[in-house]
């Protein structure tokens, strides 16, 4: 027989050990969370160190060039802006309408269920598959060519699930009493939606739209697939013209490039100077993404605070 073991001693040891494990895991968790921040921070710093010296007025107003110090992003940011106009005009009305249908009209039947499952699946389809869809459908079937219209529609379809989801979430949070009050005053279903449901859910919808557009701005792969050019030294035709009918849609069918493709093009060159240009373009992309996401976070926070049912 060995020495008498004290059961309390055992338990106390156990407790100390368990508390130690608990503490160690707390540390692990804290530092794991920090990894994300550190990477984010390093990435931003790295880009700024490489690219900041190149940022100047001429960088924004110059076309791409064989000479790295003369090259700029004029055609890229104009292209991105125009593509985003098409994307927004596609995804916002379509997404909000689909969201309203699914929340307010859709009965619990197989069709609504199918649309829901399908929406879920679409959100998980890799972006490059949308590029292939667009190449087959928009470029060759509808014959839109490798144009701004094709690019915008592609990204519009890509972010559609995000707009639909945010619309639904936001409509779902409106209590039924609001609808009933409106019906009680004799409003029709559409009047209720137009005058009450939509205005009250605008905050949430807007958040989703901004996040969707910020994702679309950074998307590269599907735009490469539809054949956006990497070297464009001209601008699309202007949307306004001095002669009647003053407005022209010719720009929709012009070839284009966008910011992330311009950046990709500069990264893939061997010369170090072009890498610096890539970093400068990266800073602009990053700032746009961060600003848009920051705005979305702020809006979400504000609307959550303000509206109390």
């Amino acid at each position: 027989m060995g020495p008498q073991r004290n059961p309390f001693e055992e338990i106390r040891k156990r407790i100390v050990q368990n508390k130690l494990h608990d503490y160690l895991f707390w540390l692990l968790g804290f530092f794991s969370t920090l990894i994300g921040f550190v990477v984010l921070f390093t990435l931003i710093i790295d880009l700024f160190i490489d690219g900041f010296p190149r940022l100047s007025w001429s960088f924004f107003v110059s076309y791409p060039s064989r000479f790295p110090e003369k090259a700029g992003i004029l055609s890229a940011w104009v292209g991105t802006t125009l593509v985003m106009v098409v994307t927004a005009l596609t995804a916002i009305p379509l997404g909000i309408a689909a969201g309203i249908y699914l929340e307010e009209y859709g009965k619990k039947n197989w069709l609504t269920h199918l649309i829901e499952i399908n929406m879920n699946n679409l959100a998980g389809v890799p972006s490059i598959i949308y590029g292939l869809l667009a190449l087959g459908l928009f470029v060759y079937f509808f014959k839109f060519g490798e144009s701004i219209l094709t690019g915008g529609l592609t990204l519009g379809l890509l972010i559609l699930p995000m707009v639909v989801t945010s619309t639904r979430e936001s409509i779902k949070s409106i209590p039924n009493s609001i609808r009933e009050a409106s019906y009680a005053l004799g409003a029709t279903k559409w009047q209720t939606i137009k005058d009450h449901i939509l205005p009250y859910s605008m905050g949430g919808i807007l958040t989703g739209v901004i996040i969707g557009l910020s994702r679309a701005i950074g998307e590269t792969a599907p735009i490469i697939t539809v054949g956006a050019l990497t070297f464009i030294a001209f601008l699309p035709s202007p949307p306004l013209s001095p002669t009647f009918p003053f407005i022209s849609f010719k720009w929709l069918f012009d070839p284009f490039t966008v910011m992330p493709i311009q950046m990709f093009n500069w990264i893939s060159r061997p010369q170090k100077e072009f890498h610096l240009n890539a970093a400068s373009a990266g800073i602009i992309l990053l700032v746009m993404t961060l600003v848009m996401n920051g705005l979305a976070i702020y809006l979400r926070y504000r609307f959550r605070k303000r509206i109390k049912w």
């Binding site: 879920n120 961060l290 996401n293 976070i297």
Partner: protein
Amino acid sequence: MKRPLLTIFKERAIEGVLLLSALSSIFITLSIVFILFYESFGFFKDIPLWEFLTGTQWTPLFAQPKFGILPLICGTLLVTGIAVLVALPIGLIVAVYLSEYAPHKIREMAKPILELLAAIPTVVYGYFALLFLTPILQKFIPDLSGFNALSPGIIIGIMIIPYVSSASEDSMRAVPMHIREGSYAMGATKFQTAFKVIIPAAFSGIAASFIIGISRAIGETMVVAIAAGMMPNLTLNPLKPVQTLTAYIVGVSLGDLPHGTLEYKTIFAAGITLFLMTLFLNIIGFWFKRKIREVY
């Protein structure tokens, strides 16, 4: 009271327009499936499916082209494997920390910042992998080539942490408080409660988040297109350059791509392979998500 006929008509018309918008999603899916099958049909008429699935060389642009998809699948799985080794453990630990340990303030701050990781354009990550991470890794691993699977794998892993951590955390926090309190009352620490009670209870949600993360990693394009080297090697060596399905599609699209050529069709053959892989994962993920609601 009867409404005027015009109002009824207007209401109906609006409902019809909204229904059409909702149906557009089904139209998109059908178009994806149709286009992928239609455009790769010609490819599979020329190349036997068996050769496509078992060939070990992918050299469609050579004079003597070989069409074995295995090197691309291997590259995809290698990069995804590395990403998963980074993202799943870190994502799960972060989720447990944020859901069980972190004070309210830290959680509210950490979540949106972590989600920014998923919002940064992937081409920026590609730059970071190629020109920042690879040179640093080369100091520790002299054998690492300038283009490799390791560096983009790690970066994609970090990029998908928020996909894993956010959804896992949500499902852990959905575990009712009384289950936690039961465990604390038995004298369990937070650590024991998290791993023996909360994680098993939230298993479906965590599994779904893992699968969404994996599916993202498989479909990720620009980071590998920039930093992995565009070389279809049948290798599991992370230090060597590889090519993924997605990077192949981008690589070919960058060049001149006449409609209807065999080259044009190969990207749809690669696309359909990728689509089926992610569809399979999404279905499993969806199945897990559906199970979440059955637990409590």
